[in-house]
Symmetry: C2
């Protein structure tokens, strides 16, 4: 028998963030391949010097991670023919920060946990198999799992410098 | 001279996601310590079986990463007394997916890049110093840098199973 077909594809999102307000950022996100765009924003509450006009970045991150896994659960349930009901996921994301003297603080993740209810009568084995596939298909989970150093450049006058 | 004071703090976000529509997820996010909550949602466009009623999870992720770094740039610029203008950041997030036969696809990050314009007359050294601190203070960047295996449990009947 011939090897199964292997297909690869790229997913590229672009964002342009502009600082506005005290701590608000307006971020225009595009998905060029799909010709889709989304106007999003982050802000901080008054305690952190903002005006609370939008969720803080970590709220968007929590929704992104939760929604990413849930989307793959539903997409892959169809493909694997595993019956599921109304999926509900409870997420808990825990970070820590450390500040020395008056220096800016340094952050680190402590642990992220997702509790999943598939509302399904499928066997335990099938439910576990579906979640295993969803974890490997969730772009955010596989990024966290692999780890990634974000690249930065800063524009000074007309030149770009690695930062 | 005594050692400088070291302070640590925890940041915990919680989310409850409920599947609705074809691919839509409604996600109620709370930041219990700050008594703040946010109603967010993700969806997919018709091409991916959704109704396009909300941005896809990766659009929220792009905004979260961009906004997180921008927030720390502004917060730490004040603390470090480095003058900045209207900060603008262009983000490019690139993932890949691979599908074997008709199996659910497997994803991986390729590279994330942020181009930063601080609109600043500060020295190159000061601008690079500010960005270095912002990278270490950005909860999302330090999570990506360190890497993290998300924990999962699935509820089957009344029992929780590790997944």
């Amino acid at each position: 028998m011939a090897d199964p077909t292997v297909k690869t594809f790229d997913v590229i999102f672009e964002g342009t963030g502009t600082a506005s307000g005290k701590m608000r950022n307006d971020i225009h996100v595009t998905w060029p391949m799909m010709k889709e765009s989304f106007d999003l924003a982050t802000d901080e509450g008054p305690f952190h010097g903002g005006d609370g006009t939008a969720p803080p970045p970590l709220a968007l991150f929590t929704a992104a991670l939760t929604g990413c896994l849930m989307t793959q659960i539903r997409a892959f349930a169809k493909r694997l023919k595993i019956d599921i009901g109304t999926v509900e996921v409870k997420a808990r994301l825990h970070w820590t920060g450390e500040q020395v003297g008056n220096d800016p603080y340094v952050t680190a993740p402590v642990g992220f946990h997702l509790d999943i209810d598939l509302d399904s009568s499928a066997s335990t084995a099938d439910q576990l198999r579906l979640i295993a596939f969803a974890k490997k298909g969730c772009f955010i989970e596989t990024t966290l799992m692999q780890g990634l150093s974000v690249g930065h450049r800063v524009k000074i006058d007309t030149d770009w410098h690695d930062a």
